[in-house]
Structure formats: structure tokens, C-alpha cells
Symmetry: C2
Subunit: 574 residues, 2 copies
Amino acid sequence: MELKKYLGCSRAARKLQPADLVLKNARIVNVFTDRVEEGNVAVTNGMIVGIGDYEGRKVIDLEGKYLTSGFIDAHLHLESTLVNPQVLISKAEEHGTTTFIVDPHEVANVSGTAGIDYLLSQTANLPAHVYVMIASCVPSTPIDDNGCTLDAAAMKKYLDNNRVLGLGEVMDCMSVINGDPSMNEKIELFDGKVKDGHAPNLSDEELAAYVMAGVTTDHEGTTYEYVMKERSMGMTCHIREGSAARNLEMIVRGIVENNTNTEGFCFCTDDKHIEDINREGDIDHNVRKAVSMGISPIAAVKMATIQPARCYGLRRTGAVAPGFDADLVVWDSLKNFNAQMVFFKGQLVTRKYVKMPACPPQLMDTVHIGPIDPKKLELRADGKQFPAIRMIPGQILTERADIGLPADPQTGLFRPDGKVDKIAVFERHHATGKVGVGAVLNFGLQGGAIASSVSHDSHNIIAIGDNDADILAAVRELQRTHGGYTIVQDGQVYDTLELPVMGLISDQSYSYVSKKLKKLITRAHRMGVPKDMAPFITLSFMALPVIPSIRLTPRGVYSVTESKFLTGPEAENP
Amino acid sequence: MELKKYLGCSRAARKLQPADLVLKNARIVNVFTDRVEEGNVAVTNGMIVGIGDYEGRKVIDLEGKYLTSGFIDAHLHLESTLVNPQVLISKAEEHGTTTFIVDPHEVANVSGTAGIDYLLSQTANLPAHVYVMIASCVPSTPIDDNGCTLDAAAMKKYLDNNRVLGLGEVMDCMSVINGDPSMNEKIELFDGKVKDGHAPNLSDEELAAYVMAGVTTDHEGTTYEYVMKERSMGMTCHIREGSAARNLEMIVRGIVENNTNTEGFCFCTDDKHIEDINREGDIDHNVRKAVSMGISPIAAVKMATIQPARCYGLRRTGAVAPGFDADLVVWDSLKNFNAQMVFFKGQLVTRKYVKMPACPPQLMDTVHIGPIDPKKLELRADGKQFPAIRMIPGQILTERADIGLPADPQTGLFRPDGKVDKIAVFERHHATGKVGVGAVLNFGLQGGAIASSVSHDSHNIIAIGDNDADILAAVRELQRTHGGYTIVQDGQVYDTLELPVMGLISDQSYSYVSKKLKKLITRAHRMGVPKDMAPFITLSFMALPVIPSIRLTPRGVYSVTESKFLTGPEAENP
């Protein structure tokens, strides 16, 4: 800390000068003693300088309300929320989240370091701590068709950036375990820094080998038993409540039933749409839900504050104590957790717009599809078993369902029948013309097509429909808008949410995005997508070849469990 | 980790090749889940690779005995044990301590960076983790007369040493709080690294200012209330059981009575003589005592393993889990904690002597006393109140006692009377001839003098006696031996333990040191030093002007509480 700043703080701490701000009559959650203490919190130069009988130039009487440190989202992808990072962070901050550990994985897959630099620049001057974990698996696996490859050499320039804390979720577990040299190079590059994990369903032996490489966190645990296996090996487990993946209930139930020590747990959202944050909250939602299930409020607050701070080596974040940044949230109660006031470095957070650097033009033109041949969408329905994707509501896991495809009696080709839909993925970065086609169960879409240029992790164009014409029209629409979400019915575009920034992010206001999104989602449900399934988010995970058990890529249907293509040119028996 | 090493570990973890070593039928203390689990621990390349059903090239059946990670001494001064670091570490390791966080404060005060380099070189190739915190207060205060000054510029060379973890105990609290530029420079130099504290008896406001500078640990807490004040500000508290300072009982009693979460506590010895380690143990003693007082064995093990490891950023130390160094201790029970076998990086620790680099000759010639004028030892006993030092058994704190000095009726000079002894400190680094003289209560020495060249932190020659002739003879004896402990009676040297390495460390074997020490200590007690007081260690703290409340330096009697000299040339009213 600069000496002049320190001296101001030290003098204020010792009451030799008034503090800048005093929050008086607070009920302070002390994450070190596990006590709630009544007191006045003095803030100077953006830092908490003392708790006690202080005088301040500005005084706010909290009238006995609860005070905690700002919450920390231990793992999220800012891009997944469709809006400009500023809009998302401002919304999350209203709910008490002031620190964000961001993996710019999506922008990196589309635009490489230019994407990461964009994200860093957009979040540099916000009234929030935004830290970045450098995306480790771009592309996520060697079988992906994405926009850019991010190797250790490209990552080097981030090592000295004090907003870069380590290596982002290492999804390609097998490359780690098998000692793939290029993966090892990335891991070595971030030696001594945090390496986030992504390890659903590893065996005990594989997980041991994975952890041994220095990976210390995971946010993919879906059961209590699995996260306790991870905990037993020292991993920190981020309990996720996102828009699509909701793992809190399963894990917290186990914690409560087994009276498990929560010191190795944090909270995260991973991927959460802004309208969900608006509706149910951000990390405050995780905390509220955990408390409602029986976690003690202080333990829950620790999981949202000091524990993620310690996990990521943030020495001045996560506690209401001297020397910590004055990121402070006033809550109505430790049950409802409704944020009444939010401070970042001692300043009351308002929704004031911060002017951001413009988006470089090349990041606004990233959708490049090869010539589209309708024939490529055809799939023979010859009575043989076809490996279809069965979706699971509330999960991003899928199951393989070997089925006989419903056929058009005249052509002998697969024709969706209301139970089985067609799914297609179009490579969109390098105009290679690759198209993968498959079948999907449980999506229920009828009378049109739905498409998205957000499709993890390569962000090719993914579409589901019950007829080829609408699928093709949807893809052409997203070509026109440089990316987005769209619905097409009877050859007509119903509506499109444009996402021109790398095909991932809108350049419009929140209300514009929100309105469009609501309209599109409502229509998707009317077209048959079950109520308990988020249509676009669920769609966006169907091309992700690192989460079990079966996915579709531009190269064909892929078994994640078996690490092999089941259809397409790279399959053994196509 | 080097790829080849990792691959061997990964393959062994996945049972593709046998492990180097398997410890089977262990009861493993899992510090992450707080459970004791039965299992077999596989070790390869010095690392734990898995727990489960493993085969090994070497198998040891633990027959249900308990297994923990090696214990960590969170803070110690190796020099205080008088023997070569190797001897001390080998002895501590027999008791299950495999990691040592060392502050080379004493050698730095005598010989500066040459002393630190000596300590680093002596501990580089031992079968133990020895980490160094660079001594921050050399000299401990501006009023000290020590051998060397260690400023930020001199410390720079240690920044990239991976055995150097941060800045050693910052004893000069007021320099920190007042923003002294040279102190600030040292603190800034170690930005992002751990800064150990030393903060007995600060007010709430002072402690807040101190913590704010980035100091995160303290080992000086003597009461539960004080350590909880430190905990409430996020400090990690090292519970100390040394030879002289025994703080465990007071603190642990409070923890047990208040059911306090122990996650912010560690154990340390600080200053512990090898014969005390031999007699009652090292960190195992802290653990055993804490458990006997009601701390759960798993909590106590965490305080001795994962908690200090996390505190100092040691990512591969402190747990029995994959990816952690195979520093393992087999215990008879979680009550007695008798170490049965100790492994360092998978190798059984034996008492094999490791050849060390020789001590540079200039470090063997550091005792330089100016001409000794017996007149300087005289103290007028004119009936006025004199600020005497009252010793407290089992503490290194002292109390001021204003007394009328007993007088020789003929000369009117202070003459010890069996209740009040004379104490003197002779500057010994730069032959300045400075001598401080005072009076001490509760030491009880009669019929001679006792002297030491170990006297924190400046390590001048300190002596206590009941007559000037014996005090002077003792000082001359230590001049002859280049430092040591000595007892003189009736002008004759009773015996001397020579400590020629910087006047702090012996160049002889443990048995030589131990025998001499025992002889000297026994004699000191016979001469009147109370049984519950360690004669030489207690003596060695009487010149330390950073611990309340009163001390003697070569410049005179010093009030730590008031930060001023009470006698001598620098006193206001000498």
C-alpha cells in the first residue's frame, strides 16, 4: 500500500483524524470469530480502518441491520449473460456481489487473447473487483472446431497482470492426467497460482492424478458424495446455482445431514442469465437457499466471502475487519438476505454508467459460415439404432439414448415427430462448411426451429427444430446478425436477439435484451420446450464435448464417456 | 512439477505401475473432511499419489496405527537451541515435525545477511522443509546496539529464493503504525507475501493499524481475550510453547470453554532448547497438551498441519492427500501422539548425519568488547526509587518495580542482598565500551554470576550476579570463548558452554551441549534461581526492548511501555 494512503488509514484507525465514513449501529458478521458483533465500522481511503467508537465525516446509521463483506462469485463466465459485463455486474452488485472471479472462456474460444483483452478492458474501471482466470482449454478438446487456440506462449503476457489470478477451469482432464506436454506447459506457467478445475465424474484414481497436477477447485460437483470425494483430496468445492445447472440442493442437503464442516466450500453461478439474477438473485440466492436448508447464516456468509477470497489469494477481500477493502453490504436479515445498501471500497454503489472502451470492429464480425448445403442436414432413418441425446431438466449432463429414428416414409430420412427433434451444429469461425446432425429427446420443440451462436465452448451455430427449412432459415438469420438467439417458424423469423459482440454479447441495453429474451423464451415454451428447461441455455450446452455423456459437434455425435465420435467422418463405424 | 516426475506419479495414482511405497492399514486423519479414514497410502517420487487399494514396491503394514502429515512449527528461531540447525531439526523430526518456518533473527542481528546465508546453507539439504522469513527488525529498535543493520536493500536478494516465504516477525510495531519509511519499504518489498507479526499488548486501535499494514500472524498472544481480539481482525494466531514462554494453557482453556472455531490457530515453539524438545517433545507436545485440555484430536492435528501450511502458502504440505509431499508421521494414538515412524518425502527419517558447508571464519569471531572499566558497574543506592526489573516465571514479560536499592553502608553503592540481583549488559559487536547496569527481582542468584552472549535481540553479553568481580570474570570468560553461557563463583569459572558460531551456536555435538547445559542449569538453580525459571533463557530476554514492560540495554534501563530510557546517558533524568 502506498505510504500516504496507509498513513491516512493508520491515523483514522487510531482516531487521530475522523474517518471518511462510519457505518454505525451495525450487526457485523465476523467471519474470523463466527460471531455477530454490534459496532460501528470506520472507513478511510476505501478501506476498513477499525470497528469501535469512531467519528466520521459522513455517518450512516444502520439501525441494527446486518453487515457483511460483499459477496464473491467464485466462478462465472460473464459472457453467458448476453449483456455487456458492466450491465451484468451492476445487476449482480445490487444483490450484494462485489467480487467476480471470471473465466473469459467463451470470448477466448471465439477471439483468443483479443477476446480476453476486451473483457479485461470492459471491467477495468467498474465499481467491483473483477479478476480473471485465463481460459485453459481453448479449444476445450482437440476435437473442437473453435475460433482460436490459446497456448502457453499466448498466455504469458497475463502473468504479471494483477487482475489475473491463475489458470481457468481445466476441463480437459485427460490431457492433464496423461501429461500432455502442451497442457503441462500451461499448468507450469501458472505454477504457484490457482488452477481451477472442472472434473465431473472422474474415478478416484483419475481425480487423484488430476489434483496432483495442482488443480485445487471444482464447480462441477452435482452430488454430495462426489464433492466429498473432492474435499477429501483437498479441493475447494464451489457450489453452483446457475440458470441451467442447479447443484446447491443436492450438495447442501448432504452437508446438513452429515453436519459437514463447510470450510472448503464456496458459491458460484458459473453461467447465469441476467433475468435470472434479476428474478431470484445472484450469490445472495445461493446463500439464502443454503440457509433455508439449514446451513448456519455465518457459515453461509463465509462460503460467500472469506472462503473464496482465501481460495484465490485475495488478502484484502472478504471480511469486515481492519485492512480489508470496504466492500460492504447491509442486509435486512440473515434469513432473507435482501441487500439494502452496497458499498464498493467505501462508496455507495449506484447504477451510474461507466464509459467503456469501444469494442474493436473485428470482434463485431466473427460469424463466418461456409456455403450451406441443405443435403448436409439429412439423416438416414433406416431402422438402425441411432445415438440420440437425452436432455435432463435442471442439469447440463446428458444421457445417451439409442433409438430408432422416426422416418419420413417417402424419403427414408429422419423426420422429427414431436418427441424426437433434429439438432444441428454449423462451424462458424473459419467457414469450413462442417455441419454435425443428430437427434435429441426431451426438448419437445414443434413447428419451427430455434438457434443460437452461443454454444459452449466453441460457439458454433447450434439449432434444434422439427424441420430442415426452419433450421436453415434460423442459421441464415444468425449469419445476418453476426450472432444471436433466434426462432423461426414456417420460414419466417419470429424474432432475434442480436449478439454481435463475438456472437456472444449484445451491444444493447439490459431492457432491450431482457424484453427480447422473454419474448423468445415464451415462444420456445409455447412451441413445446418444457417449463423446467431454459430453452436457449440448455441448447447452448449440447455441443460441449467435455461434459458427459453425449454431445453433437460440427464433426458429428460424440460420446464424452468413451472419448469418440459415434457418427460423422471421424467415427469408427460412421 | 517436472513432467517426467508428474507422469510417474499419475501412472502410479492410476495403478498403471506399482507405487514406490505403500503404507497399508493406516488410520488416516483427513484434515479436509475432519474424518479418520482407514486406508492404504501410496507414495511415488516422494509424493502421495493415492489412497486406496494400491500395490507398492515396498509395503509397510501400519497395523491400524494413526497417520498424519508431518507437523509444522509455524514460527521458531533455530539459533535459540544452541546447537547446529541440523542437530535441532533431527531431534524435532523424531517428534514428528517435518516443516520449520524459521526466522533467522538472531544470526541476522549478529552477522546480517552473512548470518542468514549461513542458516540457509546449513538447512538446504536436510530431510526436512526449512523455510525462512527474513528478519524484519534488525536491530529490533533504533535504540538497540547490535551487530548489523538489515534494510530493504539488503533483503532484496532473498525475494526470488523459493525457501524464503516472507517477512519475519515485525516487532517494531510503532514503526509500522507510524509509517516509518524504512519499515514501510520492507513491508512493500514483501507485498503479496506473508508478514509475520509480533504484537503483544497493542490497543484495539493500534492493532487495527498494525494489521492494516498487511501483518497477518502473531505468536505473542498470552491470553484468550487478546488472541480473540487478533482473530477478530483476521490474524492467524500461533499458540506458543517454548522453553520460556508457555502460552498454550491460557489460550486453549479459552478456546475449549468458548467452543471457539480453531481454524485460525497454529502451533509454534518460537524459542525452545533442544533438551526441552528431548524431554517433552516439539509440536507434538503442543498437540498433546491441547488434546488433553479438550481440543478434538482432528482440530489439533489441523492446527499443526494444514492450517500453518495454508497460512504460509505451502500448497503441497500439510495433508495426507494426493499431490501432497509424503511427509508422514505414524502415531501410536491420537491421545499420546508418540511418533513411531517419520517420513520426509516418502523416505524414512533416520539420524544420518548430512555433511554441511563449513562455517565462514568471520562468523566464528564476533565477540568484540571494549575495555572493561569496573567503575561502569557501580550503581548509587541513595535511597531514591530505582526502576528494577521484576521477572515473571513462565513468561518473558517483565514488570517494573520501583524500589530502594539495597546499599553497601560503606560505599553507598548498590549491593545485591539475595532478593535483588545486579544485572549488566556489555555491548559486544563494535567494542564501543557501552555498559548498562540495573537491578532485577525474582532471579534469586547468590554467590556468583551467570552470563550469556545470547541475549535477544542484539546479543550483547548479559550477566546477572550478586557481586561485580564475578560479573566481570564471567564477561571476560565469554570474551575468551567467543561467546557462550558461563557461571563464575568466587572469581573462578565454574563451567562454560562455548557458543563460538556468532556467539549463539555451538560447534559441538548435542551430547556435549546437553551435558554442559545440564551442569550449568543445575548449578544456577543451586545458586538460587527458582525451579520454575529457565536460568539462561530467562536471562537472554532481559535485554529485549520490544517486549513489555521494562528491560536493560547497554544504554541503560528502558521502559518498553513508555518507549524511553529510565537510566543511563539517554534518560531524561538520568
